[in-house]
Amino acid sequence: MQRTDRSRLLWIAFFVTPGLLVVGVFILLPLFMSLFNSLFSWKQLIRLDFVGLDNFKKLFTTYPYHERFFNAMKNNLTWFLSTILIQNSLGLLFGYLLSRKIPGAEFFKRMFFIPVLFSIVAVGFLWGMYLKPTGLVNSFLKLIGLASLQQPWLGMESLATPALIAVNIWRWVGFPSLVFLAAIDNVPQECLEAAYLEGVGEWKLFWKIIFPLIIPSITIITVLTIIGSLNVFEQVYTMTGLDGSPNYATDTIGTLFYRTAFGSVDAGSPEIGIGSAIGLVIYLLTFCTSLISIVFTQSKEVQI
């Protein structure tokens, strides 16, 4: 018995060690190193003295760090709220319509998913060209006689972030649509038919029966939206540039983090200490907000 127990443990170790090693070295170790690094002062890539929470203090209270940081956070919040409200509501609507076999449902389903597969970089560059002052969008407005609406979309502080978000919704709305479609398809058909025969109206059918039953998928999409919004980087990099032009109007925590960590344009040389502090803030925000949304939506969950 002793021997078989030992060989069993050896087998378990044999199976889990390679994967655990990779995850440990490339995911968990860097997490702890971020925390560690953020507590030191740095000169380029050389670690100097232990400074406690000074890097965080600098990030939150000293010019220009705090101004850039809160400006970027504000933009990330805009990304998050717009995505939740517009993209996920559209996704829910599309998913619902598809699940109810609206004419052409199969075709629409396949079309909606096309942009989801493209790299954000290709999508960003493509729409970046279309949104240029001489690009396709302005040409189209002229074609239909709305030349007065022509704008330098990515060059105006008030329009740049909304334009970026619109492009991102264009690329991504198919994803929540099909996740919600799968969730609604899992609701037992008899339930819907019974309610339908009872004469329950469409509106009530959706909000009272379908919606409560698909809350788990709403939780998942919300968490993915939080992670996505805090990780916005490629969209800005390809469409308005690493320094979030015009005048930092499209700057996000991701681009600010990159500039701080690797040094570029305005930030000058890399600042590992402050950069690590920003990285840690991203970790904490992702973790806490995801946790809150999971707890919040789970309390609303119902089961048949």
Partner: protein
């Protein structure tokens, strides 16, 4: 089904609703299809024609732009690199991921849940936020400008979701099969290889699509670690190409077409698998 949205037998209000919904959905389809179409026709046009007559068809079809971008501008290299890195990463992910899932789901022991949680923590933690320690680590290992820098990170990036999906599937396989194989003299690795793996083949297909699309498209890590032209992937190559030729729109549209069309063509043939695979992590 009686709950379906169809015109037959629907009330007037419902007909209006269905029509409005169809118009909205058709508009989005147009909004997907037209920009892609315009991208393709623009790659055959001259710069002048793109700016002056953006909606008209190209005057003549010539593939010289494609030849310039594919061969002279090195897109064939970028493309080949992307294929190579994706295939190597996925091969290791599938091996390590399925082994770890087997070790977690087919044995009962104390550390079981802890090991599973360690893997899952990677789903919630954005790896981009760890770029500084990763950069220092890769530098220490001497892997800057070496494809293995991104391959290792891609493997780490994909393992958590692979374990999450595969362990779920493996739990569903009855243990009796395992006992029978043991009596026949199979060791644990043979059970994993000859019994469990063939049974989770559909799940393997799911995780392959679920992870290879983001790996193929990833930009951030190759941007940081692969600076020399020889080792760049397609997204990073596209990005530096945009930096160099920002005024030659005709070539830029050709570059975009080369970056986007392979995925589109693959999708047209396997759309069902792509939809199932990409939503696998979010759908139970």
């Amino acid at each position: 089904m009686i709950t379906d949205f169809g015109y037959r037998g629907a009330s007037n209000g419902k007909k209006v609703f269905i029509t409005v919904a169809l118009v909205v959905m058709a508009l989005y389809v147009l909004l997907i299809a037209y920009p892609l179409w315009n991208m393709i026709i623009s790659s055959f046009k001259t710069n002048r024609a793109i700016l002056t007559t953006p909606f008209s068809l190209p005057e003549k079809i010539s593939f010289s732009n494609f030849k310039t971008v594919w061969i002279d501008r090195g897109f064939s290299h970028y493309f080949f690199n992307s294929v190579l890195y994706t295939v190597i990463s996925m091969a290791v992910v599938l091996l390590f991921g399925s082994m770890a899932s087997y070790g977690i789901s087919r044995y009962t022991y104390k550390m079981n849940t802890l090991i599973y949680m360690l893997f899952l923590s990677g789903i919630m933690l954005p790896l981009k936020a760890a770029i500084i320690p990763l950069f220092l680590l890769i530098k220490t290992l001497g892997l800057i400008n070496n494809p293995f820098s991104v391959i290792l990170i891609f493997i780490a990036m994909a393992l958590p979701s692979t374990v999450f999906i595969l362990a779920g599937f493996m739990k569903g396989i009855p243990l009796e099969l395992e006992y029978a194989a043991k009596i026949d003299g199979c060791n644990d690795f043979q059970i994993y290889q000859k019994i469990v793996m063939p049974m989770v083949a559909p799940a393997i297909a799911l995780v392959t699509i679920y992870n290879s699309v983001p790996i193929w498209n990833d930009f951030f890590f190759p941007l940081v670690f692969l600076q020399s032209d020889k080792v760049k992937t397609l997204p990073v190559g596209l990005s530096s190409f945009f930096g160099q030729f920002s005024t030659n729109w005709s070539l830029l549209f050709t570059g975009l077409s080369i970056a986007i069309l392979p995925m589109l063509i693959l999708y047209l043939f396997m759309s069902k698998y792509f939809i199932k695979g990409m939503t696998a992590g979010a759908v139970k």
